[in-house]
Symmetry: C2
Subunit: 459 residues, 2 copies
């Protein structure tokens, strides 16, 4: 990080002194992802100036890493020739990603400045549902025919050329149907007359264009593959998803889960790019729902007015019982939601998980109850006000400890059932995370607590 700050400072200095040759020299040595970071720090008017200093290919690579507001700014400042140079040098899937984020007038300009072949592909790709394999795949891949020899494969590769950083896998097809794949290294280490079908790996993993991107990303995690072929309904190879897109999807999906589990609706842009108003909008809905639900717990408490009028100290244990319940519930739901996301748990495991969580809650609740019981006894064993209300510290310790045991078991039970049921109803289990569970468990915990207290203290 610090090294990068130094480089950035140097760049700012050259920019101020208008030392463009030196600036271009530094930029050429940089990685497009880092240059994109630099653009986030530049003043608005410097953005097109610095961008024009980049060599063509680096400019196109950098462009695809930029945030969408910077992209719009640049496209607006581009001449048609410049725009065409950028789109010609970008991966088609990156172009499609950019188009999906742009306002309509910018999209029209981009499409106007691509050749008809590319435009056709872009329009095809735009048709796939958002978050499907088709929408994240690229159509730029190397394929060989099934009757080719290694020598012919070499010729084809030389002829097609590696214009962009084509992924290093060759796909073998027969009338566009995928037969197998092989790496260029395997071509190099085999005899020139060998048929590609003899050395290819026929055991291939592929997905349909309509497969959900989350499942696609998980296949990369599971199978350790660099590129995943995408086929249409007729089993014809139409594109590939590469590992870098898979990493991006995994990170996006993880962020979405984090947000849902903290009672927020997913936000697509980064923290600072999202406006205060949008942040508020994404957060307030769940807060309203949970606030209204929590009033039921409150109303329930008023039903036990007699109990806490007789023994006001009972109220002081409410936060502890509610918080402990909430924490236990969120532990369980997190384990289960994450288990689903990683494919470690499936809905068939319902009873297995329930039983496991029940045993865990027995151990955990016993420890909490014992520690808490001792704490209460030590704090109140010579309390006069307690004696005045006709009860003892021991009695209080027993009541609260019993309640905490019930609270833990209830919370783990709720934390287990809600995400499981959500998954069974084909909902995202992440929305059933801690806040939801806390609200549901709270009411049950208050109910059990006051009933135990009233029984023991004869209220």
């Amino acid at each position: 990080m610090d090294e990068q700050t130094l480089v950035f400072d140097e760049i700012f200095e050259f920019l101020e002194n208008k030392n463009f040759p030196k600036l271009r020299e530094i930029l050429q040595e940089m990685n497009p992802a880092d240059i994109a970071l630099l653009f986030e720090e530049l003043e608005e008017k410097a953005v097109p100036i610095v961008f024009r200093l980049l060599p063509k290919q680096l400019a196109a690579d950098t462009f695809s890493y930029l945030e969408s507001d910077k992209q719009v700014q640049l496209i607006t400042s581009f001449s048609d020739v410049e725009l065409r140079e950028i789109t010609d040098n970008m991966f088609i899937d990156d172009t499609v990603d950019i188009i999906e984020e742009m306002p309509a007038n910018v999209v029209t300009r981009i499409l106007k400045n691509t050749d008809s072949e590319t435009r056709k592909i872009i329009n095809e790709l735009l048709k796939y549902p958002k978050d499907s394999a088709g929408s994240i795949m690229t159509t730029e891949f190397l394929y060989l025919d099934d009757d080719m020899t290694v020598k012919e494969a070499f010729q084809k590769i030389r002829q097609v050329g590696v214009t962009k950083e084509t992924i290093n896998t060759c796909f073998v097809t027969k009338s566009r149907r995928l037969l197998g794949q092989l790496s260029p290294l395997e071509l190099l280490t085999n005899d020139e007359d060998t048929l590609v079908t003899e050395i290819m790996d026929a055991n291939i993993i592929k997905v349909n264009t309509h497969e959900d991107q989350e499942n696609v990303a998980r296949m990369f995690d599971k199978y350790d593959i660099a590129a995943l072929p995408v086929v249409d309904n007729e089993d014809r190879l139409v594109g590939i998803v590469t590992f870098d897109d898979a990493i991006e999807v995994l990170q996006e999906e993880n962020t979405e889960d984090f947000e849902k589990m903290a009672a927020m609706m997913p936000i697509e842009d980064s923290y600072f790019k999202t406006s205060v108003f949008k942040h508020a909008k994404k957060r307030v809905l769940w807060l309203l729902i949970l606030m209204i639900s929590a009033t039921f717990t409150g109303l329930l408490i008023t039903k036990y007015e007699a109990a806490f009028a007789a023994l006001p100290i009972l109220i002081s244990f409410i936060p502890m019982l509610m918080d402990t319940g909430g924490n236990c519930g969120s532990q369980t739901s997190t384990m289960i939601i994450r288990g689903f996301a990683l494919g470690e748990i499936s809905t068939r495991d319902f009873f297995r998980v329930m039983f496991k969580e029940f045993r865990i809650s027995l151990i955990v609740s016993s420890i909490l109850a014992i520690v808490n019981g001792i704490r209460i006894y030590l704090m109140y064993f010579n309390s006069e006000s307690l004696a005045a209300s006709g009860t003892s510290a021991l009695m209080l310790a027993v009541v609260v400890s019993l309640s905490i045991m019930c609270a833990v078991i209830i919370a783990k039970f709720v934390g287990c059932i809600l995400p499981m049921v959500a998954k069974m109803c084909k909902l995202d289990p992440a929305i059933m995370a801690s806040p939801m569970i806390t609200t549901v468990a709270d009411a049950a915990i208050i109910f059990v607590y006051f009933n135990i207290a009233m029984k023991f203290f004869n209220i």
Copy 2:
């Protein structure tokens, strides 16, 4: 999933009928990751039988995907010859991963059955700190000398061979120092007499062996690279980390964050592989700490006994205030913790984040306060008990709404400060997630609530 269940059922049937030729045929068509899943479902005694049906390379690949208990079981049943066949056919980094998880006697057997060259490399790799780039890198990569031509590069590749699925990047070195990299496709599309240094990409991203694996994984996310060269302190190329290891690390780190944010200590094994006792152990410590902290909130409530004796309905709003505060705090802390993890937020942004969260909390709290105020007014506007205590529904609505505004602002403030401060103290901000924040915010919320109430109702 369902398709896989069908295949598994077929396998179980062949296994029962001892139809091994048919079984071998199915297995050969399967992917090692899927076969590893199959082993999880097999009876213990069937594991070595099915494993021995696999062709050598597939057996080795499958072995590296297995859970460690299955690996121990198999190693125990292997003859020395079989063990050697497996380790010879595995990637060295996978072997190291396995060794790190094995009991000492099994490690000795594995090391005894590798050739001295491999053993030396394994011992080197085992020396790197856990979670460092050195510990996850592989030493199997293709390197070319800086004075080679394309033709000589071809010769070297043919001579070395692609024994295992070597990553498709060739590294150009000069006396072991990394100069650049190029893909085999670039070799194929260039003239035989071209020097590799002319066509290589000299702008390379690399890491030191001691770099933390989380940073390593993030570089894959940032730079879209398939392999990251790892160099020692003398800048010599000693290994590479490949994208599949990076994906694994990213998923591990995400899981760890989820666990920490739900007040659990990280668990390394999967949900079902972890015993009930271990689950309980990982969960109980934070619960104890948070339980004890929550008692302070409880003690604080008892200080306001006069207030709720005069107006018992005040108690019914405690759960709502506490829950809303907790939810708001966890929203903010989640955004910030995730922002740190994705590199979107740094500690330098402290005041920027604070100001942004403050503005968000103003909008959110106003909406919640208004909705809640209306709700209370409508519910209590002709409440006799309220009139009897000498107050009005309007007054109650104002008090609770004001308190909820304060609760939201306090919680967002705490949810913002705690992870930021943790990060500044070089602690993992994830441990400062919702449960911790709820506990801290709760006490402040109760204090503010009762003070507002006592002021307005003159208690």
